[in-house]
Amino acid sequence: MEVYLDNSATTKCFPEVAELMKKIMLEEYGNSSSLHKKGLEAESYLRYAKDIIARNLKINEKELVFTSGGTEANNLALVGCAFANARTGRHLITTKIEHPAVEQTMKYLEQEGFRVTYLPVSKNGVISLTDLKKAINHDTILVSIMHTNNEIGSLQPIAEAGLLIKELNPQIIFHVDAVQGFGKCQIFPNRMNIDLLTVSGHKIHGPKGVGFLYAEEKVKIHPISFGGNQQRGLRSGTLNVPGIAGMAKAIEINYQNMAKNIEKLNELKSYFAAGLKGLPETTINSPLDEKGASHIINASFAGIKSEVLLHALEAKNIFVSAGSACSAGKANHQSATLKAIGLNKGEIESAIRFSFSYYTEMEELSYTLQTMYDIIPMLRKYVKR
């Protein structure tokens, strides 16, 4: 049995997605900007994609910018907005548990003269609205809060934060990185006062190398790359038609089955959490209540380096992540998120993330738990003395 529990790193493509993309690449390969029929064919896929996204998010399709993925969308949102609104103010707010695509972009903006407040989180990995309220001042132009944390799955109070921000100052732009949450929760930018929303294709069984930024019409953004002025000049470059169409197809399938799937993921998570609790010296780092996403469980296995457990599970065809895949594999990396929720060094070094998808089955989880019951005592025997 092969068990893939690293769905927060990336997911398997839906077959319908791969087939649609193959057809576009081999047959309807035109440039959507071309004036001839081939261009028109390609453009019809863009219309299809915009329509799917606009309908499901209840937004206007003019407010979409397709990008090469979540990282680029986050960069465009933060850098583009900060520079476009620098005359209004130079203070930005984010959290201590953001993905590097936001965290590092904020670090860059600090070098460029912006001031950034990083909100702390509770043991559950959730920010407090009181902290947010205190952080906002007359100079604040943008708040960026992730929807679902990529390492422990904690959910942030997005709707409440949106309301609070707009009550204090409707001019403040609210950005939400929804790469991990999109497709697993209903997100309606208008009702939640979200001005900018980042989404990636490959976390929802779509292709890699494509994503989008929802940008509310009135928000001022400067482009961060320049060229042929596609997409209202916000993102130049020939549109990735097969990628965009594939992502749209994945979104369509996700939304058709969302309620049923969330229910299944919740069952999987409760089952797996119960199993983990039965393992000695194991602590679950993810919130198990409604504050946690249904597809991510992070746990620490005292005394076992996460890489060792990862490879031991790999030998049994079970694939998990040590920390988050984006930073895993770098020497001496310490997860900022795990630090922010107050874990000690030993807990951080032994943390493993299990992330599920709609393809995950109960038997796979029971096999995984059984395997861990078998191998963990042996691994514990051999620790650095």
């Binding site: 890489e307 990862l310 490879h311 599970l313 650095k384 003395r385």
Partner: protein
């Protein structure tokens, strides 16, 4: 592609002094050159005539790639791009020399260049001797290019004129790696890790004409597939110089865990290394390798003190070659940079199990104590070693990856 030079004269240093075996070395060098040129676009003939090797392009070829390929062939001291002409008398030769200088150096008044003519006459029936040729051609050059002048000590252009069946002209000698052609000195087994040192050690021994096999000790789940891939990548870089490498990958986990269970922790590293030596020796004996190669250098880590080296050495009866023994880390790093292995070596995939390294390993192991510790392994170790050797994975690493 239109290349000015269609031939290369290959200079070799040490082979020249190899007495009666000389032809063996030359043949090996020709073989290695042909092998190296396989990966270059274009076809070439490699010929050996009276103590010289020439590489002649038969078709269009990529000049830079060709030079790069030749620069990785051990045994080559210098690569000279040459142009040649048939002997049609001195005045034709003079015209040819002037044209050559014009084409290659474009001398004019703004760039005063100094030169020296170094003529050699291996055909003694040529009417002028070397000294006369030097003088007469020098005069022709001075007359044709008033901006040029003679400098016999440090000329900008050293113009070599060789009178053979044909006349060769060349003025550039691109240094080769030196050493001796791979395969002229037997074969040895390299203990290859993912670190900086062992690839350099393999390179250095191969440079002396030795063919290289390698062994890598893998300890899943304590080391990752990426660490193994890194070792394969390193072997691939070395194979640029050595030709295909037979890489033996040993699963070392069970042996390591058994040692961990049975032996004192401060001796773990030494005992582990002794078993690595024993396993490498067994494979070496099966594959006709005449020695082991390691990247050890005195004092670099606890297991490389003289006492530790002696303790490790004792485990094998094969000679162990340690070409880096007297090198500083910085010297090794600089060599790794030149060879091209450094960037790969420093990729941070955890290797050979830091959890098995004691906090305070012995630096002065006592041979008797080590032997006594090893007796505690008596029950299972032979079987484990046998399994490790017979269950090894063999990867044949070539420079060009087949897809």
């Amino acid at each position: 592609m239109d290349n000015y030079y269609q031939s290369f004269l290959i200079k070799y240093a040490e082979i020249g002094i190899k007495g009666k075996n000389r032809h063996l070395f030359e043949e090996a060098l020709v073989r290695q050159i042909k092998f190296a040129l396989k990966k270059v676009a274009g076809s070439f003939s490699v010929r050996r005539t009276s103590g010289r090797i020439y590489v002649d392009a038969q078709t269009d070829f990529d000049y830079d790639d060709t030079v790069m390929a030749l620069k990785s062939v051990f045994g080559i001291a210098g690569i000279c791009p040459v142009v040649s002409m048939a002997d049609e008398g001195f005045s034709e030769l003079s015209n040819f020399v002037v044209k050559f200088l014009n084409d290659v150096y474009h001398p004019d008044a703004k760039k005063p260049l100094s030169f020296k003519v170094a003529a050699r006459r291996s055909r003694k029936d040529y009417p002028l001797d070397s000294m006369e040729l030097n003088a007469k051609l020098g005069a022709v050059i001075l007359e044709s290019f008033p901006s040029m002048r003679v400098d016999v000590h440090k000329p900008d252009i050293m113009l070599h004129v060789e009178i053979r069946e044909k006349i060769n002209l060349y003025s550039e000698i691109i240094p080769g790696p030196g050493g001796m052609p791979v395969g002229t000195n037997g074969k040895a087994m390299l203990l290859l890790s993912g670190g900086i040192d062992s690839p350099v050690a393999g390179y250095m021994i191969a440079k002396r004409g030795v063919k290289i096999d390698a062994v890598y000790f893998h300890a899943p789940p304590y080391t990752s597939e990426r660490a193994k891939q890194k070792v394969i990548d390193l072997a691939r870089i070395i194979s640029r110089y050595t030709g295909p490498i037979y890489l033996n990958i040993i699963n070392f986990t069970d042996i390591q865990l058994y040692i961990y269970d049975q032996c004192p922790h401060e001796e773990l590293t030494i005992i582990m290394r002794r078993y690595m030596m024993r396993i490498a020796e067994q494979i070496a004996n099966q594959t006709e390798c005449l020695g082991l190669i390691t990247g050890e250098s005195i004092g670099q880590v606890a297991s490389q003190t003289l006492k530790s080296l002696a303790a490790t050495n004792e485990a094998t009866s094969l000679p162990v070659y340690r070409p880096l023994i007297g090198f500083d880390k910085m010297e090794i790093v600089s060599l790794a940079g030149q060879i091209g292995t450094y960037e790969t070596s420093i990729q941070p995939y955890e290797d050979c199990c830091t959890i098995f390294v004691a906090k305070h390993p012995v630096t002065k192991p006592n041979p008797k104590r080590i032997l006594r510790s090893e007796t505690r392994l008596a029950e299972r170790i032979e079987g484990l070693v046998e399994n490790a050797v017979s269950g090894r994975e063999l990867v044949i690493v070539r420079e060009l990856e087949e897809t």
